[in-house]
Amino acid sequence: MSLLRTEGLTKHFGGVAAVDDVAIAVEAGEVFGLIGPNGSGKTTALNMLSGFLAPDRGRVWLGDEEVTRMKPAALAGRGLLRMFQMTRVFPRICAFDNLLTAGLARGLDEAEAARRAGALVEELTLDPVKYLDAGQLSGGQRKLLEFGMCFMEPPRVALLDEPFAAVHPVMRETMARFIRSRNQRGHTFLVVSHDMPIVVELCHRAACMNAGRLIAVGPTRDVLKDAGVIEAYLGSGAHA
């Protein structure tokens, strides 16, 4: 059974189908890429998966439990954690306290949360800035911090929305290394990204959306060679 699965997921805004009858299945232990041109519905789909948007139709399962319309905090409690394209850290407390708070929210006691926060700031190269208020960190450092917050208690599935967008290459490599190492330990990721080289490198499988619909699913390299996917990105006639 897939770890995260959707069936007929649909969301309309006015008369426009932002997500239309989408079915995806993320297997335990894989890194699954969700790609597509701007406005294809990736983030809307992610918003429905993470509970920030209720679908008009369709269902979502986490393992064998149906989690459709469940609130974000309840989903986070079940191990479905979200990282945002525009980072969501707590700007007026320091980076270390951000991690502690995330750990407490996942049910850790303060001593254990502090231990894990200490290990994560080192792994994510945030040690020199751990006592700075998160609002003072660079965009890349905030993304790394949000990674850390997601992994204070390892999630069953981490949903990452454009984690590599507008990030310095060194930090991008730190993030990619983090995803690789966690995936080697069996952690599952769903990554929304425009960064094709990194999608190819990280994702075992991928799905491509265009105009709200799923147009290709399969091994990442196969999806990227798909004529419909090339056309969605480059326009009609691009594969001719």
Binding site: F52, P72, A76, L81, F96, D97, L100, T101, L104, A105
Partner: protein
């Protein structure tokens, strides 16, 4: 600040110690200045300090900008007053009842305004405050309207009242310190900083926001209840928006999101307002100007300035 001192637990501990030092200074005041006038002014300052701490829990720590703290103080005062007036209930029942009633009303108001932010939240709480005040004002047969209600006193001694208020203030500070250094405090700060982010991390935002509302209103209600027994008269004027403005000025000038700030702010602003009374009704002009200066040049308030140095 990039040292360990910037950790929340360190910042909070320093803040709490400073607040306790202010309480210690207050405890010594009757040894040097025991005139009823001086003690009376300081008792009223501590009444405002309690409301300021309650409002700061909501606005400073949780990011929920309510305009109803004075209304909740009024409701606390009237709960005690009405129980004594109509049912001859002793204060041992009237004061806890004020805490319970305002906590319940705060909880309900918190549920109603759960999804509101910024001006919508402020206007909704302002509407609640004005409705509450007008109901009290117009229900003459029940509340005696603008005539006010006589409330029995807890004790005759003004020094006794002084230390009672001081003890309640110290206990409130202690309770807030314990909450703020634990899970609840961290979750409140997270909600203040980014509600969506807090929800996505698994923080039960609804539960903690309504908890903050209920507790904040209960603190204001307790302050109002005690003040009613001190002044032996409660009237709808306790709930005037002007009073809320004064409380906001106290917290902003002292330092929002801290324990010492509201305490120091309440003492300074109320003592200054008494002093400025001699010069006519210019208090509000002075405090409004002070709020503008603080908001523009040092948002962390006086306590923030002191810490930075």
């Amino acid at each position: 600040m990039s040292t360990e001192r910037n950790l929340w637990s360190h910042r909070l501990r320093s803040d709490f110690r400073a607040a306790l030092a202010v309480v210690a200074v207050l405890a010594a005041v009757p040894l040097f200045a025991s005139s009823p006038y001086t003690l009376g002014i300081l008792v009223v300052s501590m009444y405002f300090a309690l409301i300021a701490l309650g409002w700061n829990l909501l606005a400073g720590f949780t990011g929920q900008f309510s305009l109803a703290p004075a209304a909740f103080a009024m409701l606390g005062a009237y709960t005690t007053g009405l129980l004594a007036y109509h049912l001859k209930a002793p204060l041992a029942i009237g004061i806890p009842a004020a805490i319970a009633a305002t906590a319940l009303l705060g909880f309900l108001l918190g549920r109603i305004v759960l999804r509101l932010k910024g001006p919508y939240l402020a206007l909704t709480t302002l509407s609640f405050a004005e409705i509450a005040r007008n109901v009290v004002y117009n229900s003459y047969n029940f509340t005696r309207g603008d005539q006010g209600l006589n409330v029995p006193s807890l004790m005759e001694s003004r020094v006794g009242y002084y230390y009672l208020f001081l003890a309640v203030l110290a206990a409130t500070l202690g309770m807030l310190y314990r909450l703020m250094r634990g899970k609840a405090g961290r979750f409140w700060l997270a909600i203040r900083d980014d509600e969506t982010g807090a929800e996505s991390r698994g923080i039960p935002v609804v539960r903690y926001k309504t908890f903050a509302f209920a507790l904040s209103c209960a603190i204001c209600g307790l302050a109002g209840s005690l003040y009613g027994t001190f002044s032996q008269l409660v009237s709808p004027e306790l709930g005037l928006l002007l009073q809320t403005g004064l409380v906001i000025a106290m917290v902003v000038i002292g330092g929002m999101g801290t324990l010492t700030g509201p305490l120091v702010g309440a003492l300074l602003v109320y003592l200054a307002s008494e002093w400025l009374r001699e010069f006519g009704g210019i208090q509000l002009i002075v405090f409004s100007a002070a709020v503008i200066v603080v908001a523009r040049f040092f948002r962390a308030g006086l306590w923030g300035l002191a810490v930075r140095r």
